[in-house]
């Protein structure tokens, strides 16, 4: 099969077959350096790149561009005053080593050709997307996933006691949006259910089960610590709709739960989980063995369990307390033959799990930022990603996909909301390579060839009209220092500010 891509600038470029994440067909977009129809650019031609989002994908792309094209001027826009995205607001407080990557990001931010512009959400209500277009040669969309998926089940949005994992994680990690979540952890049944079996689900379970004295040593917020110290949660059930071999969590997170002091693991019935693991691929084998091994004793003071083949159908309350979650109805599922367990179907049999607290942990979700579609950037609503070919924004058309000049994407908004920092980094390095290669090979970017783009110097004139104070890296340094000082007083590495007002007061 052959697909043809027409590029607005050069149709006869040396095509290379790739696949878009929106359109499962092969398309051709890459202009090879040395393409006779494309005059290459000099490495010192002034290049201005806007990066939207300061998570690992944005920073690792900036790092890659800096190291390949040190003269590139990069402006990074971040909605919040503070940088680092999910490294600050997602990664669990008891994983400080994972956050070490911010040292690299700090180096990137101190590059003389880099400007951090925090407290500046791109989108029409604040700074319109369109105001970036005339001022940059290229824009990188690396704004992650700011929403989360919903189950759309009866009771889900009405009953109290149901939280999204994103909100709960944001709450304990100091995300201003969820500062006032205040989950009720003191209900007498002492049971929480987590729906979904990804690593975020296990983060939630671990934070609920870890002793507060352990958490006190981390950078978890003080208000969360206070709420957790009153917690009556003694049992956490993590429920998946498929089988153990299909679970999305990884072994490190399972092992951490298996080694928590005073926490027992209810063994998974042997009929559900493979007992002979010798023929499984390495990672699955080690994961099944770890689950089968479980904890030394069970039950203990607090316990957790994994339930499989259970798909939620409704959140229900009791007649005595109609506004409060009392139980969750699950339909039992069974693997579809011939799919290796990858697909399941409902069996029609239901069971109720009683718990007054539930966390929905079925994944994050990206949305288009306002003004982006109008600017010609295609968004795949179903997958929740910007349509792209390995990071080059590309519009699907019946004739093939057309690269949108000067537009790039990476990270969770490019691939969907999965992947660890290592995979996000590789993705970002790809984006960085593509940006630099395209630039040097002379293909069309935003504006006319030879335009000098003014970047933040021009955007800031518009920015000053919207009444938001831009936060620069020197300001973040102040917030960072203040947070560390607050932490030091209470024996923690850092005590985060939980509201944007507190952050801005320091600036």
């Amino acid at each position: 099969m052959k697909y043809i891509l027409r590029h607005p600038l050069t149709r006869s470029a040396a095509w290379r077959s790739q696949r878009t994440s929106c359109n499962p067909r092969f398309i051709n977009t890459l202009h090879q350096p040395g393409d006779p129809k494309v005059a290459s650019r000099r490495a010192d031609a002034p290049f201005r790149l806007a990066i939207i989002g300061s998570g690992p994908s944005g920073f690792y792309t900036a790092y890659r561009v800096q190291s390949k094209l040190p003269t590139a001027r990069i402006d990074m826009y971040e909605a919040l005053p503070v940088p680092f995205g999910l490294v600050r607001f997602g990664v669990a407080p008891d994983h400080p080593e994972v956050k070490f990557c911010i040292n690299k990001f700090d180096e990137v931010a101190r590059h003389p050709n880099f400007t951090y512009i925090g407290n500046t959400p791109i989108g029409s209500e604040s700074l319109p997307f369109s105001s970036l277009l005339p001022n940059y040669n290229a824009i990188l969309l690396s704004y992650g996933a700011s929403k989360d998926k919903t189950l759309n089940l009866p009771g889900e949005s009405i009953l109290s006691g149901i939280h999204s994992a994103r909100a709960f994680v944001g709450w304990y990690n100091g995300l201003p949006e969820h500062r006032n979540l205040n989950p009720d952890l003191e209900r007498s049944d002492g049971k929480a259910v987590v729906i979904g079996q990804g690593n975020v689900a296990l983060d939630v379970a671990r934070i609920l089960l870890t002793g507060v004295d352990e958490l006190r040593k981390t950078d978890i917020t003080e208000y969360a610590l206070e709420a957790l110290s009153g917690s009556k949660i003694k049992e956490v059930e993590v429920v998946g709709r498929r089988g153990p071999l299909q679970a999305a969590f990884t072994i490190k997170e399972v092992r951490e739960l298996m080694t928590l002091p005073s926490v027992g693991f209810e063994p998974v019935p042997p009929s559900i989980i493979p007992q002979d693991t010798s023929t499984l691929p390495r990672a699955k084998k080690r994961l099944m063995d770890t689950i089968n091994k479980g904890t030394k004793s069970y039950p203990l003071e607090k316990n957790w369990k994994l339930s499989f083949f259970s798909s939620p159908t409704a959140f229900l309350s009791s007649s005595s307390n109609p506004g409060q979650l009392s139980h969750i109805r699950f339909e039992k599922t069974a693997p579809v033959e011939g799919t290796n367990g990858d697909k399941v179907v409902g069996t029609g049999e239901h069971k109720d799990v009683y718990a007054s607290l539930a966390f929905r942990s079925i994944g994050y979700k990206s949305e288009p930022i306002s003004g982006m579609i109008e600017a010609g950037i295609p968004f795949d609503e179903k997958k929740g990603v910007v349509c792209n070919t390995l990071g080059r924004v590309a519009r699907p058309t019946p004739e093939g996909d057309i690269q949108v000049p000067g537009m790039y994407t990476t990270g969770w908004v490019r691939r969907g909301p999965t992947g660890i920092i290592a995979s996000t980094m590789m993705d970002a390095f790809d984006a960085g390579d593509n940006i630099v290669n395209d630039w040097l090979s002379g293909v069309e970017f935003l504006g006319e060839q030879g335009d000098v783009r003014m970047g933040w110097e021009a955007v800031k004139r518009e920015h000053s009209n919207i009444g938001l104070k831009a936060v620069h890296w020197s300001d973040w340094d102040k917030i960072d220092k203040a947070e560390k000082e607050r932490g030091k007083k209470i024996g923690k590495e850092r005590e985060k500010f939980g509201t944007e007002e507190e952050m801005m007061a320091i600036v």
Binding site: K68, T71, H95, F100, P112, K252, R255, M425
Partner: protein
Amino acid sequence: MPPPRGSSILRNLQSQCSNRLFHAGDSIVTRCPRPIPTRSPVQPGAHNRTFTTRTLRPRLPFQSSIYLRQFSTTSYLSHGHLTHPKPGEELKVTFVTKEGNEFTFEVAEGDNLLDIGQAHDLEMEGACGGSCACSTCHVIVEDQEMYDLLEEPDDDENDMLDLAFGLTETSRLGCQVKMKKDIDGLKVKLPAMTRNLQASDFK
């Protein structure tokens, strides 16, 4: 005292300046550690020779004083430091980059592969700072027999290896492999740090 080192960005710029000058099949032998390790500029067409390093700082594309001042203060952010090998006790380790270039270094017992690679500007990330929590320092031991001589990876390392991209039978995490006498002459490959055009991206 640890030897003074440039920040990793500085080092990356340097490696970037010098990377272009090397081609597949080049082989470099250097003694380590060096103040700011750099490679001597090579004329185009001269890439079949064997090079040794010089300690001269290369001319950076935009070596402003502000730039150097800012970065010279951030060395605390760099990863662990290398130790000077005692004369006669140098151990050799070779890194093969994704382009096929080989770099051999003489190092001291106890240094780990991540620190060695980073101190010599090789394209090797250590996102978690060598604490066995990220898998970005993945290396592949070339020789099965040499792999068998390494101390076995512990559970933590295996857990991270399970997440490594392009895992092989002889994969290890660079931050967890320390040089020892019995693995003198170790040769490891550095996997690509990008996935461009790799089959797995098409799943």
